[in-house]
Structure formats: C-alpha cells, structure tokens
Symmetry: C2
Subunit: 209 residues, 2 copies
C-alpha cells in the first residue's frame, strides 16, 4: 500500500505524525511525505520542519492520501494547484483521508460534497459551505473518505484503517508497539467534556486565528 | 520556559512530536529541536526527517530537556558527546524528561541512578543495568526526572507537566485544542490488555531489532 501524506507551510505536526507512526508500521506499507516542492516544510509553530521527499508532480497513484490540518489550510483552500492535485489523486485512491482541518481542504477540492465528514470541533460548520454534512465522532467514514477529528484523532483513525485493511491483529500489534494505552491526566479533550469556560476560551482563540 | 528536544538519527517521530505539540502550545514556552549538528535528522523509519535548528553546543541552559526514544538510542548510548551533553544540561534543568527508550539514554548518562523510571514496556529491564528501578505507569516522576512509557505516552506526560507548571486550566485548554479525547478502536495498548499472542509477537520483534 502506498501512502502519501501532504505537507504544506503551517500544517500541524501531530496531525501528520500521529497517523504516520501507525501507517508506517504496517509491513510492506510505504509512506511518502509530499509537498509542492521537495524539501523542508515548516509547521504552524515555526519551530520545526519536516522533510517532504516528493513533490506533488512526482507522486504517482497513492492508494491512501492523508491531509493533515493546521492554520496553513486557510491559504491552501484557495490554491488551485493543491486542490487539483487532491482531485487527481482521489480518482484512484482506495482511501482519501484527513485529520483536523484537513477536511476543509478535501471539502474545498469538492471531495466531500454530499458526504458526512468531521474535523476539529471548532471548525465543523465551515464544512457546510462545501456541501458536506458535518457530524461528530472521532473519525467518520463515508464511502472511501475518512475524516478524523482534531489533531490527535489521526492516531485513532489510522488504527481503524489498518484494522480494516489488514486485520485486527496487525492493528493491535501496532497499538501495542506504540504503547497507545492513553491515560491523559485530565478529561477535557472534547467540548462535551471540558469545563464550559475552557471551551469558550479555546473557541475564542480559534476564532481569532 | 525554554525546552530542548533532542533529535538523533533513528529517533521515533511520535515520541518527539506528541509532547512537542502540547509543550509548544503553552504561551511563552519556547521549544527548540537540537541535534549534534543543525539540519535534518532522519527518523527510525527513514521516510521522514525533522529539522534541528540548534546544535548541542548552541544550546544554553534549557529548563526542560526531552529525550525521545527509537532504535537510534542503541548507538547513542555509547556516544560520550551525547551523554556528556545530557549531564551538562541536566545540571540546570528544572525537568529532565524522556519518552519510550529515551529513558535508556538518560540512564546511560548516569542520570537515573537510584531513581524510579519507566520507558517502553519491552525495554524496562535494561534500565536496571544503569542503577535505575524500572516501574510501570504511563509516566513516572522521581525528583526532577519524568520518564514516559512507549511512544504515545509522551502526550500524557506533557499534559501532566503543563498542568504541574502552569495549572490545570492551561493543560485542559491544550488538551481540548488538540482534541485529545482518545478513543482507539482496539484495547491493546499495553501488555496487560493486548492478547497474549500479540504481546509475544511484538516482544519477539523488539528482541530481534
């Protein structure tokens, strides 16, 4: 299975690296990081870069494409080169996937029209502008599209995808390998669980971005 | 708070990027990725690199140092330059931390002697060779040292550290921001929870590495 993970200036590192760590652990699966040009791509924080080994045009027909989210999506949603590439690879993918606000990129490319989709909880409604139906859930499968919720949700989505493609045992082995037995010290990971004032604060920060 | 995350050839990306995504979200905290030389450092899979913006000698006195794990630790445990750097920064850190087999590097540097520590479940016993006492747990605090379990455990540790340093509210806001409401599709993230044959398989792979 060939997997292409899209990088762009201003992506969120964990959106990409969470699912990468799962997908790259499947025997014979090949992950490639791709970007407009080969080379370093800086994350949203600016303090670290990841290397894309392939440019968009060098990518053949990946069976899985994964689009991370991040503040950089804002600009990218208007870049026809990116949107056209997403439409092009989607024609032959087995799975077209996103994490966090990466679903807005898929939506802007026209790939979520009439589909149920999710994304970061603070950025669900804009999906409607592109004809998608935003729904809750850690990840949402509709046809060959799987969209994951915010940032860390890509790990759960990737484990699901591995389980679906190569079976429960491989997915469990990978989960054990990355010791993914989550035990956060707080229980504030969703707007339903976090204290109301925290939800309001994070919503305000998201709106101001 | 200045934070230095050590990169080296063969580190595991999620070990570094999980806690980075939490720590870099704290207002006024500054994360730097450091390595022997500035520039790209390749992960254990070889398919992606992260950029270190600082060389070891350029690092002043970070208040938090974080050492990720990965197959590359094997070689690094014998590299005096790295071990000496860890001892040097540890003299003035507020917190010296690791994820996964990063604890073996701290141990090899002599920084876990007489301390309780954890790491990847398959690599706990070797900690004894360096005078540390391996214990279970998602992360283990002993004095100013915090060691986390395998790979994904760095996210939990980082949230704990943020809660401890700047309070529950900031940690909760970050948890909500990265939508860390984990819901893995399987419950196999620890050797206590995974089916016995999966544990045996992953142990065998670890031993063969």
């Amino acid at each position: 299975m060939k997997i292409a993970i899209l990088l762009y200036e201003g992506f969120t590192a964990l959106d990409a690296i969470g699912p990468y760590e799962v997908l790259r652990s499947v025997p014979d699966w090949e992950v490639e990081f791709v970007a407009k040009q080969r080379g370093e791509v800086r994350t949203d924080s600016g303090v670290v870069g990841l290397t894309a080994d392939r440019s968009l045009e060098e990518v053949g027909e990946p069976e899985i494409v994964l689009v991370p989210g991040g503040i950089g999506t804002r600009e990218l949603m208007g870049e026809e080169e990116i949107l056209a590439w997403l439409r092009r690879v989607d024609e032959t993918t087995k799975w077209t996937t996103s994490v966090c606000t990466g679903s807005l990129l898929l939506a802007a490319a026209g790939l979520l029209e009439g589909k149920q989709a999710t994304g970061h909880w603070a950025w669900l409604e804009p999906l409607r502008d592109f004809g998608a139906e935003p729904v809750g859930g850690r990840y949402v499968e509709d046809g060959k599209t799987i969209t994951a919720a915010g940032v860390s949700a890509g790990i759960d989505m990737a484990l699901y995808l591995v389980g679906r493609e190569v079976g429960t045992e491989v997915a469990q082995a990978i989960q054990l390998g990355i010791e993914y037995d989550p035990d956060p010290p707080f229980d504030a990971g969703s707007p339903q669980k976090a204290p109301a004032e925290i939800v309001e604060m994070v919503s305000a920060i998201s709106r101001a971005e």
